[in-house]
């Protein structure tokens, strides 16, 4: 069963910035078709790890394997070519342009042959129609002709996801997709993640909202201080256990000393 094959894994992946060990000797593994959550406190190394996987940072040492092959990325285009797409937390949308233009940003479909590299006419009808198709896949209704700045946070997330799906990736990395959203917006985005998994996509979900993570993920990888503290099946782990790992505790008993309620409040896991 392909469920068990790692589509992506890292071997001793390390990233240092000067003396700071942002990510240290991490063996991270994602199976095909699963939603793998990556959790950790601020500064735990989530972002750095992800940025190595999507080509923004070059690892100090260690190796990334995609589909069993060793890969190295110079920039996000390299990662994209390996089937890895990323939806960044800041979404990277152009607010004054239309939803359709954002879905196709940088890859606008053209009419007619090329008259020259810059004189290509954008096929607006096709762009709007295809944007609509892509947005349908995400199942959050958005008017493709509306300006992005006039849409809600959840809709903007949908636009960013629709754009990421544009290149037909195998792996979708989503960086804090629910953090800026209302409860309803977050719920819609979680539903989208579920749908995409049904469609066979492998998803790496970065979040510090443990409630969201345990509700949607198949497995959870926990980072603390740059190290991978553990990997757990999402339906066989408690929130406290995850938090204990996040705090760098070796086992849960060590964690009893922390003021759990306060931590949970800050993480927004109580609603």
């Amino acid at each position: 069963m392909s469920q068990q094959d790692p589509i992506l894994y890292t071997d001793g992946l390390t990233k240092r910035f000067g003396n700071i060990h942002a990510v240290e000797d991490v063996d991270f593994e994602v199976r095909e078709g699963e939603v793998m959550a990556l959790v950790g406190d601020n500064g735990a190394g989530k972002s750095t790890l992800i940025k190595m996987l999507c080509g923004v940072h070059e690892p100090t040492s260690g190796t990334i394997f995609v589909g069993g092959e060793e890969v190295s990325f110079d920039d996000y285009n390299d990662a994209r070519a390996q089937g890895i797409e990323t939806v960044y937390q800041e979404l990277a949308l152009a607010p004054n342009q239309t939803v359709a233009a954002n879905v196709f940003l940088g890859h606008e479909p053209t009419r007619m042959g090329r008259l020259g590299r810059w004189l290509t006419l954008v096929d607006e009808e096709r762009m709007v129609a295809e944007a609509e198709t892509n947005l349908d896949r995400v199942k959050i209704p958005v008017d493709p002709e509306a300006k992005v700045k006039n849409t809600s946070g959840g809709q903007q997330q949908a636009v960013a996801i629709a754009r990421a799906l544009q290149s037909n990736p195998d792996i979708l990395i989503m960086d804090e997709p629910t953090s800026a959203l209302s409860i309803e917006g977050a719920r819609n985005v979680l539903r989208v993640i579920d749908d995409l998994r049904e469609q066979g996509l492998t998803i790496i979900l970065i979040s510090h909202n443990i409630r969201h993570v345990l509700g949607i993920a198949d497995r959870v990888s926990v980072l603390a201080q740059g190290r991978l503290m553990g990997v757990r099946e999402a339906d066989a782990v408690t929130r406290n256990e995850v938090i204990a790992l996040m705090m760098g505790a070796e086992d849960e008993s060590e964690f009893e000393e922390f003021d759990l309620s306060r931590t949970v409040d800050e993480e927004g896991t109580t609603a």
Partner: protein, 361 residues
Amino acid sequence: MSDQHDDPANGSAGEPDQPAARTDGGAAESTDTRAVSRSSDSLFERVFSRREVGVFFGFLVLFGLIAVTRPDVFFNWASMSGITSRLLRSIAPYVIIGIGMTYLIIGGEFDLSVGSMYAVGGIAFAMFLNDYNLTVLAALAAVLVIGGVVGLTNGVIVTKAGVPSLITTIGMMSVLRGVAYYFTPAGSRQTPDLPLIDIFGGRVVVAGLEIQNQIFWAIGLTIVFGFLLQKTRFGYHVYATGDDQEAADMAGIDTDRVKIVNFVLTAVLAAFAGVVAISYFGSMFGSAGIGFELLVIAAVVIGGTNLFGGEGTLLGMFLGSLVIGVIPVLLVLNGMPVELQEFLTGVVIIVAVLLDILIRR
């Protein structure tokens, strides 16, 4: 910034989740059947929500002020045709340069060296014709190449070396002005009497209204470049670059290249505007075009282009140029010193940008 801080799901304060209620409500599990609210505003609303319409009415009001303050002139076609003709001629260089400036500002940069480039363009054109005996078209081509080199220099310094366009183009403004003065030791340069020059400097008379060829160039170039801006992939990339450069970069758009092309376009068009002007006047001073940069930027911004990039149209710039052009006409007709134009233009720029910022808030 955000008005939704009371939301417990907001783990970290992020972007405002504005009209969330519109589509984010309702049952989450079922397939969504809620209709997407389309931009279904009536044609009336859509037309009148456009910035260009407002600018056009602004122009009509100013133009109408001529009728109110000087009915004797306004309702006398003999004088009014002359005034209209002069107005159209005066805005031609603003429009031609404004095309490039609109591209630049939408893409997130601007160019203060256009006034000097205009002078160098006209003076170089005269020199190529007189001193080097080039044909009109060869001289034009040479001038455009000079413009291209200047624009490329501006663009590379701004994008690759990271010098802000304010510094780069103010420096270039001074450099080019120095060049213009150096090559006009007698104060000005003249173009020889060549029939081909009339392509740029000629005129036609329709029903007593004298129309200079330069306004045809201005309108034609506005239409061509307006089409390119709205319809081509490059045009899309210009908007995206100025809207959010990082987002555009991450989407694979070569934003440096977009900006360099815009700088080149602007300088080439400024040089061309100089050619057109000297072809009409027959001579050009080394001091020609001083202050053009502000007039052009004013026209662009009045026309609705976002000074911070990402939004704007050439139609708006054209109408903004009409507003800029009609102000001195009003002043002169009412016996006010034309020097007030600079004062008023400054006021108009500041008020336009201020209003723009307030409206967008």
